[in-house]
């Protein structure tokens, strides 16, 4: 038997994940829905913008595409109105990020089959290349641009709408949403070098949001941080949990994020949500002083292992808040397990200085298994599998990968997702603890990176057969970066790096490439990663 949830849920989930926003936009019409880099939009204003965009999508999206709309916007009001517009138009949203390499963005766009894009002013620089590359006619909506004449004349095969071409909000016609349709398609690192699109359904998110809003007693006076880019699924917590109850999402500029303490204070945040690394840096830089964040009610961390010392320091810096550690891969919808930090009790429940991941959300079932997918006894280690209403639909247009990761274990009658995470199955007294990755997937500052993907690109770009990527230096939450080893010396490391930079997001690009005449092997004939890691310890640190 798996372990059923000890946590409870009060309300039945609603259907479309934007329905909570719509209800709040009536009830709290004049309260702030978002504050983006100093610009505030009320619920009323954001709804009107989103409806105007949605009506334009309904009118002008070219036929033949998938039920998806790309939102090529980052930390702007257009990013939020764009997400809501896609949902209102009955589409799932596909977040794109202008800080990602163009080739990656193009691969995501192409794979998703989107025919419509909503683009903010700052992402326009990257747009021209996409307009060139796409042979299919696209609808490009530029809500922040007034003059589109140049773009229209140069790319006549695409439909380009500026601010003055948008439909009035009143022309929007609500589309029914099926609970099992895609709410968002999020691309994660894939081991073959091709990003995998995770299809998350409305019903998955609705279940998550319903539990979270009740647990945290969210109300219209709450103010949420938005530390995550929309290409990171944790951003969906901030948006949909806040909007469900009329709260405000506070989105800082990237510069403001460098000083998170000031952001918390200036924005008078009540709900904080970030990767633990932010807390690690704040502590190291002396920014976690006792009693500093009195406005916070909830301090939530997710995305990588939470060091006990950070939970402890944070709870003292935010004395009126409860610290909770959340756990969950994108495939299980944002988060699906949690653990509440309790000073005096939690310290001894930590494993290797890492806060436990605790209990599954209501309705979610935990199964800790060995390599044959047989459940291990309580207190033993194994891979974490989970089933229930937050299990995503699978990988976009990839039945093979879906079948490998979404499985029916022996004797079970529902689909479990294989997380690839090693955990210790809880015994009667202790909570569930996280141990590490089963495969070579690591976390760099909360970003999931498949070392296999980096290695396959290394081999390809360096024109060699053997290349190894290692997470280094090792931190409690994963790794600080990647160091690469390449056999042979066909190319200068600099040249290889330049090529990788075009294909990988910055956090996944190796910091250094070491050329070796041969790679060390272990007795099984496999490349000895341990020896390479040891070598790094002996090399001078830059």
């Amino acid at each position: 038997m798996g372990t059923a949830s000890k946590l409870s849920v009060a309300n039945a989930p609603s259907r479309g994940i934007h329905e909570g926003f719509l209800r709040s936009s009536v009830r709290y019409a004049h309260r702030p829905a978002v504050e983006v880099r100093g610009t505030m939009l009320t619920y009323d204003e954001l709804r009107n913008r989103a409806m105007s965009l949605a009506a334009s999508l309904e009118r002008a999206t070219p036929p033949g595409g998938t039920p998806l709309t790309a939102v090529f916007a980052r930390r702007s009001t257009t990013a939020y109105s764009g997400v809501l517009a896609a949902l209102l138009a009955g589409h799932g949203y596909v977040p794109l990020n202008r800080t990602f390499p163009l080739e990656r963005t193009w691969a995501m766009l192409q794979r998703s089959g989107c025919r419509s894009l909503i683009v903010d002013a700052e992402s326009e620089l990257r747009l021209e290349a996409i307009l060139d590359l796409s042979e299919e006619p696209l609808l490009i909506i530029l809500p922040e641009r007034t003059d589109t004449s140049y773009l229209r004349s140069r790319w006549s095969r695409h439909t380009i709408l500026g601010a003055s071409d948008l439909e009035p909000a009143g022309n929007f016609e609500e589309k029914p949403v099926s609970p099992d349709s895609i709410a968002y398609l999020l691309f994660t690192s894939g081991s073959t070098g091709i990003p995998k699109g995770v299809m998350v359904a409305h019903q998955n998110v609705a279940h998550f949001v319903s539990f979270m809003t009740d647990r945290y007693g969210i109300c219209e006076y709450d103010r949420f941080s938005q530390t995550f880019d929309m290409t990171f699924d944790l951003s969906a917590f901030d948006m949909f949990v806040a909007w469900e109850r009329g709260a405000c999402v506070c989105c800082p500029s990237e510069k403001t994020l460098i000083n998170p303490a000031k952001f918390i204070q200036d924005a008078k945040l009540t709900v904080w949500f970030s990767v633990p690394t932010v807390g690690v840096f704040m502590k190291r830089l002396g920014a976690l002083k006792a009693g500093q964040f009195p406005t916070l009610r909830w301090s939530l961390f997710c995305g990588e292992p939470l060091p006990a010392e950070i939970a402890e320091s944070w709870s003292r810096a935010a004395p009126n808040s409860v610290v909770e550690n959340l756990y969950g891969p994108t495939e299980l919808t944002i988060a699906c397990c949690l653990y509440r930090w309790q000073a005096g009790k939690s310290e001894e429940q930590c494993l290797r200085g890492v806060v436990p991941i605790g209990d599954p959300f209501p309705g979610m079932d935990v199964l800790v298994v060995d390599e044959e997918l047989r459940e291990v006894p309580p207190g033993k280690d194994g891979e974490l599998l989970m089933a229930g209403p937050q299990v995503a639909l699978g990988y976009w247009q990839d039945p093979e990968k879906t079948a490998t990761a979404f499985v029916l274990p022996p004797g079970k009658n529902q689909t479990y997702y294989r997380t690839g995470d090693r955990v210790r199955r809880p015994n009667k007294t202790g909570p569930m603890c996280y141990l590490g990755r089963v495969d070579h997937q690591i976390k760099i500052q909360g970003h999931r990176v498949e070392l296999g993907e980096v290695e396959s690109l290394l081999r390809q770009e360096a024109g060699v057969d053997a290349a190894v990527a290692i997470g280094w230096p090792v931190t409690v939450s994963g790794a600080g970066g990647i160091e690469a080893f390449v056999m042979g010396n066909k190319l200068e490391p600099q040249t290889i790096l330049e090529r990788l930079k075009r294909k990988l997001p910055a956090y996944a690009v190796p910091r250094r490439i070491h050329l070796l005449s041969e790679l060390p092997l272990n007795p099984n004939g496999k490349i000895d990663r341990g020896k390479l890691a040891k070598l790094l310890g002996d090399l001078p640190q830059f």
């Binding site: 000083n259 840096f281 790096l497 910055a506």
Partner: protein, 92 residues
């Protein structure tokens, strides 16, 4: 105590940023004083925090966020001057 010059800080910062500069095809000598590490897309906000904590560790100083204009914190010239000034107070 050894006095840390702005140049010392600058060369450490550029050394740490070498892989990112390489990837952009930029040489250290081409980086002007008003180069903004963040807006130029060289590294993200987490990268900046990591850089600050590495610089702090190397020079044994503490960057005071209150003292430094956030607009300037990610600009290489003002950042290096701030670190050098801090080291003077620490070593005095």
């Amino acid at each position: 105590m050894k006095v840390i010059s702005v140049e010392d800080v600058r060369s450490l910062v550029l050394e740490k940023l070498q892989p990112w500069l390489d990837a952009k095809g930029l040489g250290a000598e081409e980086i002007p004083d008003n180069f903004d590490l963040l807006t130029e897309g060289l590294i993200d906000s987490m990268g900046i925090l990591q850089l600050i904590s590495e610089v702090e560790a190397r020079f044994g100083i503490t960057v005071d966020f209150e003292e430094l204009d956030p607009e300037n914190l990610t600009v290489i010239g003002p950042f290096c001057r701030h670190i050098a000034e801090k080291s003077l107070t620490v070593n005095r």
